[in-house]
């Protein structure tokens, strides 16, 4: 299945560029704000309040950030569980992006925790409270980060020439891959379950009760596919490599049918619960609901034909829309549709936004560094354009 031409190789080339410089500056700004936050408290830099105790550092950095980092999960599911070997070249780059996405989601939780020095309590018998959805999310995400580093370690071991360790690890890799499929299934669904205890504080359009874990899990898988297409397109353009459209087209087909199933599920669930009427009310919640739905429905139309799925640009736009849709679903559930009583409002402060942007910048920076220096992307001739 794998062949010489597609074996992963370091890209090489210079790390310094105007882009990496800009990313570095953005990451540094976030760093400064965070120092301030740890000295003066959350209130000094965020717009958080008791009506909106969770802001974008949770809704974006953790909930959305980890969902956008599901490329590795979705590809592992496809390649190793559904045995679709043709997508193998996409696994490693997807896994790398996931590794950073998740690691930073995990680390950025610390920025948001008020009493961060106690964070280890969540894993500690006597403190750990197993009925809490948050406990499940925290343990599963942490475990998955460790599993991903193990899954990805062959790339480092190759570079460092540690053949023995690599071979030993290879014998066990199937188990870590299985864990790497189980754990995201658990915590991506649980990120939806987090909302269950909010009960009637969640707007009816997102108050899906027992279906919340299903909705969040399916969209996480969907986002995984979308992100793989998005990243493959970007890294082909950015690193001036051949477009991987031949392998992306059949992937888009799988994504398309997953999307169709999701949209059907979401609509049926809302109708069955009798919440559809609220979508036609003159509220911000209803407006953002339609924005969210449009992001899912438009690709359902534009990517309907196999021909459309062969077009790199249509694929890219479709993938971006799906990422936006997954983003909106989560922002809507955690912020727009979170109604804790009158008199409360929240919009992220500039400092909050800059931290989130800085984290993303750092993530891209690390990705560029790794693919230039370690065997991640499939070796291929530069695109002759």
């Amino acid at each position: 299945m794998a062949n010489h031409a597609h074996a992963p190789r370091p890209l090489g080339g210079s790390f310094l560029s105007p882009l990496t410089l800009l990313l570095g500056v953005l990451a540094a700004i976030a760093g400064v704000i965070l120092v301030y936050r740890f000295i003066y408290g959350l209130g000094a830099v965020t717009n958080l309040n008791d009506g909106y105790p969770w802001g974008i550092w949770i809704a974006y950095d953790v909930v959305i950030g980890s969902a956008l980092a599901c490329g590795g999960y979705s590809m592992a599911l496809l390649v190793y569980i559904f045995n679709k070997g043709q997508y193998h070249p996409l696994v490693r780059p997807a896994l790398l992006a996931s590794l950073f996405g998740y690691t930073l989601a995990g680390v950025s939780v610390i920025f948001d925790l008020g009493r961060w020095w106690n964070f280890w309590h969540i894993f500690w018998p006597g403190y750990a409270q197993v009925n809490s959805v948050m406990f499940e999310v925290a343990v599963c995400i942490s475990a998955y980060i460790v599993v991903m580093w193990i899954e990805f370690s062959p790339a480092f071991l190759e570079k460092w020439g540690m053949k023995d360790v690599r071979q030993k690890l290879n014998k066990l890799l199937f188990f870590f891959i299985a864990l790497g499929v189980l754990l995201p299934s658990m915590h991506q669904s649980s990120l939806g379950s987090l909302l269950v205890i909010f009960g009637e504080q969640i707007h009816p359009l997102w108050r899906s009760g027992m279906m919340l874990p299903v909705i969040y899990l399916v969209t996480a898988i969907l986002l995984g596919f979308a992100v793989v297409i998005f990243e493959a397109t970007l890294s082909s353009t950015g690193f001036k490599r051949q477009l991987e459209t031949p392998v992306l087209t059949p992937l888009a087909r799988i994504m398309y049918w997953t999307l169709a199933a999701y949209v059907a599920l979401r609509v049926i669930e809302i109708v069955a619960r009798g919440a559809l009427g609220t979508a036609f009310a003159a509220t911000w919640q209803a407006f953002w609901f339609w924005v969210e739905m449009a992001c899912f429905v438009v690709p359902l139309v534009t990517l309907a034909s196999e021909n459309a799925r062969r077009s790199a640009s249509k694929l890219f736009v479709g993938a971006v829309l799906l990422m936006l849709g997954g983003f909106m679903l989560r922002v809507n559930g955690f912020l727009v549709g979170y109604m804790t009583g009158e008199g409360w409002s929240y919009f992220p402060s500039l400092a909050e936004l800059m931290v989130t942007i800085g984290i993303i910048a750092f993530e891209i920076l690390a990705y560029i560094y790794i693919v230039r220096n370690y065997p991640v992307l499939p070796a291929a001739q530069p695109a002759s354009r």
Binding site: R115, W116, A128, S132, S193, P213
Partner: protein, 325 residues
């Protein structure tokens, strides 16, 4: 072949998760029961005169800082509970505000502090057991030494009770704990202790329910006596006149019941309390978690199935991978 293997393994394990998820909407776990020796507060809005002695006493008993809402910072003027304030009295005002405890052109007072839910969301949400419900007296307590400051409790509580000190580098949750730290000196909730009219009473939930039944049986205008301080404590009662109560006792059924129970002449929604269903959200959330993860049976079964499938699918690629690596 592969497909068949996949389906076989799914039968063994993957299905467990699916069935779990599919069967759980049928019913939530039941609400937790009221602890046997539950204690709580009775707040009777018709007796409250809005003096806010309870607000001041609460601050003193719990060592909470002053909070200002006026330009001249002369005295403590909290408008709501907050990181600095565990208990406030709020006013309901309508139209000309002529008659107390009347909805139209009337006014009323209402207490806002922790409800001490029988099945609290904050306790269920807390990942590190910082929020606990005492199994005997049912008081919902907070331990800042355990807390990680995630604020899931703040977000989860339907009454908006746990609050957070965002402006501190070492923040903590603030909430009423029924002055549990004073119990060892034979004292009880400071708010009830100082209440001059007995609008806030401390006692066992059993005693509180008896007192509620007694008051509701009274005819409006009927002469009676009202206890003060602690039900079952030294007699501090005084003569008074029964008000016109709504049938509704807030906290009797709401959200699986609460240990602060309230009587009023004005509807509780007008007084700022949410209209909540009788089942607790903790029950639903925990039922879901237990169905999916109870005894780790479903995850282990799924992991077994996934390992089985992955072992078949990973091997050949890896051998090739290492040849080319």
């Amino acid at each position: 072949m592969d497909r068949r293997t996949f389906f076989k393994a799914s039968m063994a394990g993957g299905a467990a998760l699916a069935t779990g998820a599919a069967t759980c909407p049928a019913q939530a776990r039941d609400n937790n029961p009221m602890p046997a020796d539950a204690v709580g507060l009775l707040f009777d809005s018709t007796l409250c005169v809005g003096c806010k002695a309870c607000v001041a006493a609460c601050k003193e008993a719990n060592g909470m800082p002053l909070e200002f809402s006026t330009k001249d910072q002369y005295w403590d003027t909290p408008l709501d509970i907050s990181g600095k304030t565990l208990n406030v009295i709020k006013a309901y005002r309508n139209g000309k505000m002529e008659v107390k405890d009347r909805e139209e052109n009337g006014f009323a007072f209402i207490k806002k502090s922790c409800m001490h839910c029988v099945d609290p969301s904050c306790v269920s949400a807390c990942p590190v057991s910082a929020m606990k419900k005492d199994p005997k007296n049912g008081i919902v307590t907070y331990d800042k030494e355990a807390c990680i400051g995630c604020r899931y409790c703040v977000a989860a509580c339907p009454f908006g009770v746990p609050r957070f000190t965002y402006d501190s580098p070492t923040p903590q949750i603030s909430k009423c704990q029924l002055c549990v730290h004073r119990h060892k000196d034979g004292k009880y909730a400071a708010c009830a202790e100082v209440c001059p009219t007995g609008a806030t009473l401390y006692g066992t939930v059993a005693d509180i329910n008896k007192e509620i039944a007694r008051r509701k049986a009274l005819k409006p205008g009927e002469k009676t006596s009202f206890p003060r301080g602690k039900l079952g404590g030294p007699d501090q009662s005084y003569p008074g006149v029964a008000a016109k109560y709504l049938d509704h006792t807030y906290g009797e059924k709401e959200f699986g019941g609460t240990q602060m129970l309230m009587l009023s002449g004005v509807s509780f929604q007008k007084l700022g309390y949410p209209d909540l269903p009788p089942r607790s959200d903790a029950a639903i959330s925990e039922k879901l978690q237990h169905t999916l993860y109870g005894g780790l049976i479903a995850p282990i079964a799924v992991l077994g199935a996934l390992t089985f499938i992955a072992k078949r699918n990973v091997k050949p690629e890896d051998e090739e991978g290492s040849q080319h690596g």
